[in-house]
């Protein structure tokens, strides 16, 4: 596999061209915006939670293939899961993207592992993290019963 095919894996291109869980959820679902102003990437994430479980997730994204695929893969990875499980996935995902050296997940990351190839392109890591940073703030807002602030990445 060439370096570039390792970045643009088929799963990534598939999620880019046919993003999953696209759309909006009506209130009282939580709505949170995320942006990467330097790239112009933007998204709006909707989460419906009940009894500590994420019932539904929808997302609307604008941006490059990496940011859109990461957002789409994220929705699949978290829908129907308990918030504690999701926190573990987030932790693992961020370690995979940000820690040096080889990485051994403590939970099954499934298709999310294809995003590890982004690590070789430091300027693109931000693209993959936008949806996740937005999710982190969204979950915080849910826990604190607060209206979430938009996430703006530097």
């Amino acid at each position: 596999m060439s370096a570039i095919e390792d970045l643009y894996r088929e799963i990534i291109l598939d999620h880019y061209s046919s993003p999953r869980n696209r759309g909006e959820l009506p209130a009282p679902a939580l709505k949170i915006e995320g942006a990467n102003p330097l790239c112009g990437d933007e998204l709006v994430l909707y989460i419906e939670e009940k009894d500590g479980q994420i019932k539904q997730v929808k997302i609307n994204t604008k941006g490059c293939s990496i940011s859109q695929a990461s957002a789409s893969l994220m929705t699949e990875a978290i829908v129907g899961k308990k918030i504690e499980e999701i926190q573990k996935i987030i932790e693992n995902f961020k370690d995979m993207m940000l820690k040096d050296g080889s990485f051994t997940p403590t939970v099954d990351l499934g298709d999310l592992e294809v995003l590890e190839g982004v690590k070789k392109y430091p300027v693109r890591i931000k693209c993959a993290l936008l949806a996740w940073n937005t999710l982190i703030e969204g979950l915080k807002a849910l826990q604190n019963h607060k209206k979430p602030e938009p996430v703006v990445m530097e």
Binding site: Y8, Y16, G40, D41, G63, C127
Partner: protein
């Protein structure tokens, strides 16, 4: 005709591989490469005559002062400014525009006054005016662009009114490549008694300028886009205006006499050069201009015209590619912005390929281009796109490098064709 192979020998950086491919540096709109004479001028200064200027009585200081002041003459000669004292050294073009917005704007703009810009301005010729307009309750107006990505000159006459105090226009768009008719706009501005400022950050490096002929009141440009080092910009201003304006940054060197409670200002241009300037880089900038003058700006422009014509032809032949610009080398400098879409497998109708994806993939082929909004977010919004991929040329670029770009764009399509 330029001897490009010989020119390339003067730029050691060009002779290297990126991801095992020869480097094709097509990001000159961001910053140009520097010839050895420019790099040597910097080390030479630090090795042999580093000292502060305008203050030492010793030999080294005299030598440094002479070298620094000589560049003022070189710059004046290059842009045909009548008087070297009309040349002010700043950090970059951005600081030059800010100097005018602050020192001229705060004294001359008041409630209801209008400042006329264009829809294709770089943020550095927009934000300083936004801040000024907000402070003074003045109004910003914008010359629109046509379907052809040129300025809509028919609209200018309506937009310049008795309230217009300043017209500020880029000589060449850093996104579209469009070369604007600055002389004509200067005439229209002056007819309405408005001043005229040119953002020459892109225009000056590639076609030069004759400020006396164009008759602009201010011109801002930046050394690093014209073979010079970073950290040096130029503001040209008509002497009378510079004399009437208040200082911008205050401190040492810009004063004549100082008491505890007041001071008098040094004469122009020193009034606007507070503190120790970027001596080494100004001196090296002089070498960059001499290098360009040796080649001749007409030859520079002609070489880029040829490259642009070739690249436009190649890119127009590329399927699913949209070019944002006049697509005419007579109206456009060596800058081409484009976006790509892809048609995937049988059932897919095609999706846009984001410029950042284009940038990453062509980089793997050794091709350096810029991708993004190019500091022109309002223009991107007007075009309804998140950004563009942009190739931009200079004296050392070749047709082979443009072939390398189109080959790399083929790779982009291949990657996305796996959809």
């Amino acid at each position: 005709m330029l001897n490009v192979q010989k020119i390339r020998e003067d730029f050691p950086i060009l002779n290297q591989k990126i991801h095992d491919k020869p480097l094709a540096y097509l990001d000159n709109g961001s910053t140009s490469q520097k010839p050895k004479v420019v790099i040597d001028a910097i080390t030479n200064y630090y090795n042999w005559y580093n000292s502060n200027i305008h203050r030492g009585i010793h030999t080294l200081s005299e030598k440094a002062t002479e070298a620094y002041e000589n560049v003022r003459k070189i710059v004046a000669d290059f842009i045909k400014a009548p008087d070297p004292e009309e040349i002010i050294f700043t950090r970059n073009a951005t600081e030059a525009v800010n100097l005018v917005a602050y020192a001229w704007g705060r004294k001359n703009i008041s409630t209801g006054d209008e400042i006329l810009l264009t829809e294709m301005e770089h943020h550095s010729n927009l934000i300083p005016w936004q801040i000024l307009a907000k402070e003074k309750k003045a109004v910003l107006r914008f010359i629109p662009i046509t379907q052809n990505f040129t300025l809509d000159l028919d609209k200018i006459e309506d937009l310049i009114t008795s309230k217009t105090k300043l017209v500020a226009v880029t000589q060449m768009s850093n996104v579209l490549g469009t070369i604007n008719p600055v002389k004509k706009i200067a005439g229209l501005a002056h007819k309405a008694k408005a001043l005229f400022l040119i953002d020459g950050a892109q225009g000056v490096p590639h076609s030069g300028i004759d400020v006396a002929n164009v008759n602009c009141d201010f011109l801002a440009f930046t050394a690093h886009k014209m073979l010079g080092p970073t950290g040096v910009g130029v503001l040209y201003g008509k002497k009378k205006l510079l004399e009437e304006m208040d200082p911008f940054i205050a401190g040492g060197s810009m004063i004549l006499e100082v008491w505890q409670d007041r001071a008098t200002w040094n004469k122009v241009p020193y009034k606007y050069e507070a503190g120790t300037p970027n001596i080494a880089d100004v001196i090296a900038f002089g070498e960059a201009i001499k290098y360009l003058q040796n080649i001749g700006m007409e030859n520079v422009r002609n070489h880029e015209k040829e490259l642009t014509a070739y690249a436009l032809k190649k890119l127009c032949e590329t399927e699913d590619l949209t070019i944002y610009g006049p697509k005419n080398p007579e109206l456009q400098g060596g800058i081409i912005s484009f976006n790509f879409s892809a048609k995937g497998g049988s059932d897919s109708v095609g999706i846009d390929i984001h410029p950042h994806d284009v940038g990453t993939i062509v980089d793997q082929e050794g091709v350096a281009i810029r991708a993004g909004h190019h500091c022109c977010q309002p223009l991107m919004r007007k075009l309804g796109i998140p950004g563009t991929a942009r190739a931009s040329f200079y004296i050392y670029n070749t047709k082979e490098e443009i072939d390398q770009l189109t080959f790399a764009l083929g790779k982009v399509k291949e990657v996305f064709a796996r959809l």
